[in-house]
């Protein structure tokens, strides 16, 4: 059995239709004109214990809404969610004890008191045994480098420190599933790295299941094996990251180091469907479409006119792949 099972999940919001004119706006006070907006449109998912899933999509695509339904904050309009066979909305207390949530833009700690005091409340809230609490705390302090900040009130912490404390807070009760909503938003690279390493370790050592939403594709790439792309409330892709990269890479970049570069002196690059991105005294950067040409053809052509000293080929990064898929998906809808 899958740990998380989602079937035909739908969430609709009612929102007032824009009345257009002021006169109509006055009229709509008495006879409101609603339109139905589908934030999540017939989603099916299965996530296994210990999986780390990246849940990505543009703003307003329905990511947060899905996470909120999974965590029991929102009631689905239609469809079912089963977490270990239980429905989150009906078994909220039971499921909440086994899950953790990190809201990237919201702190769950008390502003005015030392972080440790907030953790003490969480200990009571989740009924964490003292030994578990102590052991976890010790490990987290070590992993996230929190020794000096744990006795400081939250208001005196930096954004990165706050986030570390909030992430540790979500793991104190040994959750089996953790939802991370933009866990590294607004952080510097040092803090991001620490947080990613921490999440990885929890996934490896404790087999904690993760669903991560992030606009930072480095988060997704370093944390997740699987990626789910959602656009306009529908799942567009659900696959291993490696497979996505393999199947959807359309363009590659090829960089040459040349002894002598005739293209910098006005020579035209004669293969169609190859774009010259950069050209210099001794270097040449090209982008080509993998469906129309290949690297051998380009290398043969270049070596015919110049001495190749070095060459490197780069595939597309996952971020630009996703961007293109979303673009295509949007065009398909219009």
């Amino acid at each position: 059995m899958m740990q998380i099972e989602v079937n035909h999940l739908v969430k609709e919001y009612k929102r007032k239709r824009d009345p257009g004119t002021l006169l109509k706006a006055l009229g709509s006070m008495f006879r409101p004109d609603y339109e139905i907006f589908r934030a999540v449109d017939d989603i099916n998912l299965g996530i296994e214990k210990g999986e780390a899933v990246g849940y990505v999509g543009p703003n307003g695509s329905g990511k947060s809404t899905t996470i909120k339904m999974l965590s029991g904050v929102l009631t689905p309009t239609a469809g079912t969610i089963k977490i270990d066979g239980l429905e989150p909305r009906k078994n909220r207390m039971k499921i909440n004890k086994r899950t953790g949530v990190v809201f990237g833009n919201r702190s769950v700690l008390w502003w005015d008191v030392p972080v440790m005091e907030s953790y003490r409340v969480l200990q009571k809230l989740y009924e964490i045994p003292e030994k578990t609490f102590r052991d976890n705390l010790e490990e987290f302090i070590d992993l996230l480098d929190m020794e000096r900040i744990i006795q400081v009130p939250e208001r005196q912490l930096s954004l990165g420190q706050k986030m570390k404390c909030n992430i540790a807070a979500a793991f104190l009760h040994n959750p089996e599933i953790v939802y991370l909503d933009e866990p590294t938003i607004g952080l510097d690279s040092e803090s991001k790295l620490k947080i990613r390493r921490f999440i990885q370790k929890m996934n490896e050592d404790r087999h904690t299941t993760f669903i991560v939403t992030s606009h930072d594709f480095q988060d997704i790439e370093s944390l997740c094996q699987r990626i789910i792309l959602i656009n306009h409330g529908k799942i567009v892709i659900d696959d291993k990251i490696g497979a996505v990269r393999k199947n959807f890479t359309k363009k590659k970049q090829i960089t040459f180091d040349l002894a002598d570069n005739p293209w910098s002196k006005g020579k035209e690059f004669a293969i169609p469907d190859v774009r010259v991105l950069d050209v210099g005294e001794t270097n040449l950067v090209l982008e080509y479409d993998v469906e129309k040409t290949d690297s051998m053809e380009i290398m043969n052509y270049v070596s015919a006119s110049s001495d190749i000293q070095d060459v490197s080929i780069n595939g597309q990064d996952i971020e630009s792949i996703i961007r293109e898929i979303v673009k295509k998906d949007n065009q398909g809808e219009v």
Partner: protein, 263 residues
Amino acid sequence: MRLRYYGRLWKAYMRIGLLTTTQYPADTVIWIISMLLREAAGFVGILAIASVMGSLGAWSFYEICLLFSMCAVIEAISMAFFDNVWSIDSMIRRGEMDVYLVRPASPFVQMVGNRMHFQAVLSMLVYIGIFLWSARGAHVPLNLHTAFVLVEYVICGTLINSGIYTLFNSLNFWIVQGSDLAEFVQTCREFVKYPLHVFPAFIQGFFTYILPLGFIAYYPVLCLLGKTDMPVEILLPAVAAFVAGAASIVWRLGLKGYNSTGT
């Protein structure tokens, strides 16, 4: 079992509340003074009227003080432990309710526990002083009946007062200006600092049957002074149960239909 769990949780919240109070000593002092002034302002007016007229509705000076102090004690308790219901509005707007919904405890307990005002406990001590002094002056009998009514009164009065605040603030789940309505209700509360029988019948009826704020001071005072035949001892818990029940239903309905803001 659940009760013990919430007991421990409540203690943890109280600890946070106390620590917060100690973090800002100047703030605490200002808070207490302003709270005392706010309650006293209305009271000075009543006293002025009473002294001009000689008495108010045949109530003596001490009796009016008794009414005032009991009213204030209840408000102080509500402020100390249930003040966060006034933040329902902003919590909905900022999507803070989400945090309570992903934890394994009652969202209501978490919400009110989240912020306590121990400053109000300090100002309550002042009101208890006024109460003792005026109870002596008004010759409230020192017996078991008085003790029973007072204990019942503190529990039920708090339930009625905070219940009404919770109910009206929970309207924020549906309407944008719900807290304005709740503030309006709080303003109406000024009426019950007067002996209700000086008002026309419809106002008395309003505060007895519709918005039963009469039970947070007036009727219990009547009972303590032996001025009424009404079975206040029975009515108090009945009204409290009714208000708390209504508030609980409205809160639950609101939470059920809660659509958090997208982030």
